[in-house]
């Protein structure tokens, strides 16, 4: 009985900590969105930080995202055509592509790439600044670290993720069409290909895509900023923040995407 109570106690404490953490992140995102919603109140120097974040997270990741899109096209679009045709279910081809590329695979793959590059970078940078006393120095000179460090990163990562997902989806379909012309046994022509996609693309799919791009972008940046700023001044502080800046956004994005898919499926 005592052992059961100990386990229940531990589980309860863990759940409470999880809820508090989720509320912290939600509050951070809420305040960040409020600040981003009034860009005229944002200082020019904070806007510069936002632009730099878009460049780092978006533009500098282009090569990786394009490579991922072409490989996805090779694996998915061509394979889908071949396999679906083999099963005699060619009418499912378009819907399959929309679901896999637009609703699930595209947003998730881009989010994982952004976590690997920018989540780690943000968490490490802010943790180093925290331990070096830079964030405290900013605060004591009247520069709000939230408005100078966090808000631009939230906005920059969210914008970059949204743009990268649109690019990923476009390139995947474009490369998929071109590759299928070369590799598939009876490929559709361009008009047929676009027609198949347009026929199977519903307005709800775009809502799902929006939910799975903007929110994960905010989650990645918010968790990385939170971990960076909350680091402890110990020798393991920075590596721990970096690890958490990767693992926690992955968990959060997977949970969010699963939730959105569930809601979309039920409605």
């Amino acid at each position: 009985m005592t052992r059961f109570l100990t386990v229940a106690d531990g589980l309860g404490a863990w759940l409470c900590a999880l809820v508090v953490y989720a509320l912290d992140i939600a509050t951070l995102i809420g305040h960040g969105l409020f600040a981003l919603a009034m860009p005229w109140r944002m200082t020019p120097v904070a806007r510069t930080v936002l632009v730099k974040q878009v460049l780092f997270t978006g533009v500098e990741a282009l090569a990786y995202v394009l490579l991922a899109a072409v490989l996805t096209a090779l694996v998915l679009v061509v394979q889908a055509q071949v396999q679906v045709a083999g099963l005699g279910q060619t009418d499912l081809f378009g819907r399959l592509l929309v679901v896999v590329v637009i609703q699930e695979g595209g947003p998730l793959l881009v989010a994982l790439l952004v976590i690997a590059r920018s989540g780690t970078a943000i968490a490490t940078e802010l943790a180093t600044m925290q331990i070096g006393g830079e964030i405290r120095a900013l605060d004591l000179s009247g520069i709000d670290p939230f408005h100078y460090l966090v808000v631009p990163r939230l906005g920059g990562v969210a914008i970059a993720v949204a743009c990268l997902v649109v690019l990923f989806v476009t390139v995947t379909f474009g490369a998929g069409f071109l590759l299928s012309r070369v590799m598939a046994p009876s490929p559709p022509d361009l008009a047929q290909f676009v027609g198949i996609l347009a026929h199977n693309l519903h307005p709800d799919d775009l809502l799902v895509l929006l939910a799975k791009t903007v929110v994960p972008g905010l989650l990645i940046a918010a968790i990385a900023c939170h971990e960076g700023c909350a680091t402890t001044p110990t020798i393991t502080g920075v590596p721990r923040a970096t690890t958490r800046g990767v693992v926690r956004p992955i968990a959060a994005v997977l949970l969010w995407n699963a939730g959105v898919t569930t809601v979309a499926f039920l409605t």
Binding site: T43, P44, V45, R136, A137, I143
Partner: protein
């Protein structure tokens, strides 16, 4: 006589984790143009006193007034307003490691006054001339020598023309001639700009270059070390 810019009246700070108080009945006042040094060894409460003046912590007893404000009574916006008027030079400078030296100095101007880049650069150059920083290398702080880093941190603390400057262990990490050069620079800035200064330092010898007004603090807290 003008009202004091900074006023500590019988200020006590107790930390429940320690048996000894961090500060006990500290009294001091600084008027416009004055420089005062809080001198004491590590653990004597110097940084605690500066934290009180910046509204980072609160006294257990006694009263603190900074520019006629009680930091305890200020909300977050009020504290920001206070910190815009009080320059602060932390230990190790606190420069942002991802900005060049010049960008570090310009940051408060760009953030608070929303100046154009060119106008900010102009003000930075004017202040740098005063501090003998004629050719500021376009490098990040980590690549600059310690004395230059400290001078740039001082410039950043002065760029908004504060009436009061709080300096924490200004010569930490400096040695030999650099230490003396640094204190002479502080003295010159104090003379030329007339800014009031509160300096927390353990350096009893060099502080005399800046000021003869010294408030001695006793060691109260013993740092404990634990092997991991």
């Amino acid at each position: 006589m003008s009202a004091p810019l900074l006023w500590f009246d019988a200020v006590c700070v107790h930390d429940p984790d320690y048996a000894e108080p961090l500060l006990e009945f500290l009294r001091l006042q600084i008027r416009a143009g004055e420089a005062v040094a809080l001198v004491g060894p590590s653990g004597s409460g110097k940084s605690t006193a500066l934290a009180l003046a910046l509204g980072e912590s609160e006294p257990t007893a006694g009263a603190v007034q900074v520019l006629a404000w009680d930091p305890r009574a200020l909300d977050r916006a009020g504290l920001r307003e206070l910190r815009l008027r009080v320059g602060h030079l932390p230990q190790q400078g606190g420069l942002l490691s991802n900005l060049t030296l010049a960008d570090n100095i310009a940051l408060p101007l760009l953030f608070h006054r929303r100046l154009e880049e060119g106008a900010a650069r102009h003000e930075v150059r004017a202040l740098c001339r005063l501090l003998d920083l004629h050719e500021l290398p376009a490098v990040m702080p980590a690549l600059a020598p310690p004395l230059l880093r400290q001078a740039v941190a001082l410039a950043r603390a002065l760029i908004l023309q504060p009436t009061l400057l709080l300096i924490d262990e200004p010569d930490a990490g400096l040695g030999g001639d650099a230490q003396e050069d640094w204190w002479r620079l502080l003295w010159r800035v104090q003379q030329e700009l007339g800014v009031a200064m509160l300096v927390a330092t353990a350096d009893r010898e060099h502080v005399q270059i800046l000021t003869g007004t010294v408030v001695p603090l006793q060691k109260r807290r013993t740092a404990t070390f634990r092997l991991l």
